[in-house]
């Protein structure tokens, strides 16, 4: 059956594809004639913001991406970092914001699927996942439904695939009411000499399709907008993709098995803009042309057009270039794992991207230009304004410190996320050493006697909103701190930059400043950015989300015996504050929850001090001094102490020097930690701190079942725990059937 795949290229059609006049002029020039309908789809897919990074590229180039351990930085499916002994860790973070808002379960599930594919496409076996989630206000009508669906979807995919989810973030803020964020992180381990990339090599080699069949899933929004495109399909097609974690699992095993045979020359997963993007990338990177015959593509539905096949975003698919002499061996593996596969084309020497379908050539485009000549914009931007510092006396103290602390512990943004992470398999693979609930998730390196990796995901959007530059720095610094707090050496990071409409100079200004801050922090703290993702246009009715540049960091633990945990303090341990007294209340959780305000400057990060203290804390943990450690972040010192008590089940009695009590207890000054030290080492530890020039204070002793801080706080660990644990289940409790639809 022939299907109509020819449509007049009208200005409306061009606009529906998100292509502006200038871009279209360039397309005419590069195509050498008017593009066919399929070609227009291909150009739009390659040149949209998601694939081409046209608004962000200029700024991303400024990020530090190199370091002694970096094997592959940005540009590949995921970043690759050396962890010694010939092993590498491969990781990346990616957003699935929009799909998750439309269909939370499947949107989040396929987000997890996509990021796992990025990791194993490179030859790594996934060992850990995280998810950074931002939802609207808790009382917004959609929020509970979205939380339930997203969490179920992340678990549904990750659990079934068999990767432990070891960390993440959950925030609520009204600015996400119409635009939630779902950022998924995955990391895998591979041998350094067995990494695969997308660059094809060799002419006349088979291009092989592997995985699930192609359906109409997610075929570009443009088709949705113009129903007259195709009268043969009456039903409005869902743009939502459905995930199939079992197929993904088989795909993982098949890919790794295939790679071990030496059959793979190049491999690329089909993510956004599926076949188009993956094929162009393989060809363009390798200076080769690609010819595809769509009649050979395994299709799930009848009479799909070339346009639809080229733009389909069906999940769990891969494209690869194989050594012809290994084709048979490859087939055996595909059959064993029950996967569809087909030779769908070949590499050529003409640098053209040629598509055949039903005996017709439906596209013939210059492949390098598709891949590399995407427009790059220097969008106008304005430097964000800043706020002047505000002394603590400008903020009202609470009527009752006990009450205030309980309120913070039980607030939407500080309460325990147990309700979330207990829906994730955190232990599968048997290597998890630290579960969610501490500062970073820790997974040991299988097959290695002592080594482990730590993972943390961080950003404080309310800081970035107040000051994108400081907020960008803070995101990196907090991630660094969380890694340090477990006793890991921060190695590198991935970023997921979620912002509003870049065509607005203020939003672009946020982006530029945040990237500058991230870059400076990454340089100073020795955490190069090795992969990442940009998600722009997160706006509803003209209102943007809080700028949210999520940072996912990876740290290396040489000896898992020398780790610290949030809850491992013992009776009689001495508590030390690393850092100085809290002073900064603007943009704090205290201000938000108790004063019901959001104003003023973000806390600033002194990167040099951050590094000095980080080095010191890491050394203390590695030399076995620290029986427990926790960084001080949201909610300040009092919350950090409370969290340690809740985690260990043991109280503490603290006496601290105080200028302004509310600032000392709840101020969110940066670069601070609490360390618990066995009392027999406490004096020596103090002497060392003195010697290293790091500011510190001996603030208390662990013991009993209450947290006491001067005359201000006196609460039982049980009451704090109850407050901390109650909010999430209560919020989700009544009437949330996660997914009658699941």
């Amino acid at each position: 059956m022939t299907v109509n795949n020819t449509h007049a290229i009208t200005p409306q059609l061009i606009a529906d594809h998100g292509i502006n006049d200038e871009e279209y002029a360039r397309i005419l020039e590069l195509t050498g004639r008017e593009p066919t309908f399929t070609e227009l789809g291909i150009w739009s897919a390659m040149w949209n913001e998601h694939c081409s990074y046209k608004s962000s590229k200029k700024w991303l180039k400024t990020l530090p991406t190199d370091g002694p351990r970096v094997v592959y930085g940005p540009g590949e499916n995921a970043g690759v970092v050396d962890i010694g002994d010939g092993d590498v860790v491969v990781f990346k973070m990616e957003s699935h914001n929009h799909p998750s808002f439309i269909e939370p379960y499947q949107g989040a599930a396929t987000g997890v699927g996509g990021i796992l594919r990025d990791v194993f496409t490179m030859g790594a076996r996934p060992i850990a996942a995280m998810n950074a989630l931002r939802f609207g206000a808790p009382d917004h009508e959609k929020t509970r439904h979205l939380v339930a669906g997203v969490v179920a979807g992340i678990g549904g995919y990750g659990n079934s695939f068999g990767v432990p989810t070891v960390g993440g973030e959950v925030n609520f803020h009204p600015r996400y009411n119409g635009n939630i964020l779902v950022n998924a992180f995955a990391a895998g381990i591979a041998r350094g000499d067995a990494i695969y990339i997308s660059k094809a090599e060799g002419v006349g080699l088979p291009v092989v399709y592997l995985g699930a069949k192609t359906g109409r899933d997610g075929v570009g929004g443009a088709t949705m907008a113009s129903a007259e495109f195709d009268d043969s399909i009456d039903e409005k097609r869902p743009t939502v993709q459905v995930g199939d974690p079992f197929t993904e699992k088989c795909l993982l095993e098949a890919c790794l098995e295939l790679m071990a045979t030496g059959a793979v020359i190049a491999i690329q997963d089909m993510g956004a803009a599926g076949l188009t993007c993956s094929a162009v990338e393989m060809g363009a990177r390798g200076d080769l042309g690609i010819r595809l015959n769509l009649d050979d593509v395994p299709a799930r539905e009848d009479s799909m057009t070339a346009y639809e096949m080229m733009l389909s975003e069906s999940q769990e698919r891969m494209l690869m270039v194989l050594r012809p002499e290994k084709e048979q061996e490859a087939k055996t593996i595909f059959v064993k794992w029950g996967l569809d596969f087909a030779v769908v084309g070949e590499t050529t020497d003409d640098l053209r991207f040629r598509i055949q379908h039903q005996g017709q050539e439906v596209a013939d485009l210059p492949i390098k230009e598709l891949g590399d000549e995407a427009p790059e914009y220097d969008r106008p931007w304005v430097e964000p304004g800043t706020y002047s510092q505000q002394s603590p006396h400008l903020f009202a103290p609470p009527d009752d410190y006990n009450h205030a602390l309980l309120k913070l512990l039980g607030s939407p943004n500080l309460s325990s996320r147990r309700w979330v992470w207990e829906q994730y398999d955190t232990m599968i693979q048997g290597n998890t050493l630290q579960l969610p609930g501490g500062d970073a998730g820790v997974v040991r390196v299988d097959g290695h006697a002592t080594k482990a990796l730590a993972f943390s995901s961080d950003v404080t959007p309310r800081y970035v909103e107040a000051d994108p530059y400081e907020g960008g720095k803070q995101a990196v610094a907090e991630c660094y701190r969380n890694l340090i707090a477990t006793g890991s050496e921060p190695l590198a990071a991935t970023d997921n930059l979620n912002f509003g409409n870049p065509e607005k100079p203020e939003i672009m200004g946020q982006f530029v400043a945040a990237v500058r801050g991230i870059g400076e922090a990454c340089s100073s703290l020795g955490m190069p950015i090795v992969s990442g993702n940009v998600s722009l246009y997160n706006e509803t009715n003209g209102e943007a989300i809080l700028p949210t540049p999520t940072i996912g960091g990876v740290g290396l633990i040489d000896d898992q015996e020398k780790m610290a945990r949030i809850g491992s303090a013992d009776d009689r341990d001495v508590l030390f504050l690393i850092g100085t007294e809290g002073t900064h209340l603007a943009r704090s959780i205290y201000q938000y929850e108790i004063l019901e305000e959001e104003s003023g400057p973000a806390p600033a990060v002194d990167l040099l001090m951050e590094k000095t203290r980080g080095d010191f804390v890491l050394a203390a943990i590695r030399s076995g001094y620290a029986s427990a450690c926790h960084d001080i972040s949201d909610g300040g010192l009092a919350v950090a102490l409370a969290e340690m008590c809740i985690a260990s089940g043991i109280g503490a009695t603290c006496t601290i020097d105080i200028t302004y009590a509310h600032a000392a207890l709840f101020g969110e000054d940066q670069s601070r930690y609490i360390i618990a030290v066995d009392d027999q080492w406490a004096d020596m530890f103090a002497a060392n701190s003195e010697g290293s020039g790091v500011s510190f204070a001996r603030i208390g002793v662990v013991g009993g079942d209450r947290l006491v801080i001067n005359e201000f706080v006196d609460l039982s660990v049980k009451d704090m725990k109850d407050a901390h644990e109650a909010w999430f289940p209560n919020f989700m409790g009544a009437g949330t059937v996660a997914q009658a639809a699941e």
Binding site: N159, P245, G430
Partner: protein
Amino acid sequence: MIAALTLVSGQQPLIAWHTDEELPACDLIVLPGGFSHGDYLRSGAIAARAPVMNAVRRAADSGVMILGVCNGFQMLTEAGLLPGALMRNAGLTFVCKEVRLQIANTDTAFTKYYDKDEVIRCPVAHHDGNYFADAQTLEEIEGNGQVVFRYAEGTNPNGSINDIAGIMNTKRNVLGMMPHPENLIEPAHGGTDGRRLFEAALKMVQSRAA
């Protein structure tokens, strides 16, 4: 699970493929956890009908010891090797956490290193662990002492009837359990409460071989 078996026994277990018609001669067959076939249709349902399960059934009949954990337990019930069924958790969500298990029967090859009514720590991680059996079956398995593990007071994570976490067949060579003892067998896991189960099974296997 493979890592756990290797660690405790010092030997690499043999691995069978789902389409195998025969199993190698062995002393202990373990059906591990996971999401066989994505747990589509019902957890363990499709795997329970795989060719290899015929061989497992024959081995069970001939008295070979069989342990099914989590998805393995689901397969054993779906295959009819153990009574009852594992339904969706009462809370409907996947649950991954540590629970406490009461050893309800220590007179088995798997639990003889535990004390009667001892309560141990053990993680669970499942979506369909809500054990159900009709009244008559329940009475039988309770009466026969087939219930081997129960969730200790207040820790039933899934709504299982009579807090049942693990059961055996009447011949006492097939054990199915939802919790994951293999994830608590070395200090790095934060505890070793699960280890004795494997040590007991190993001991039994060795004494039979001797």
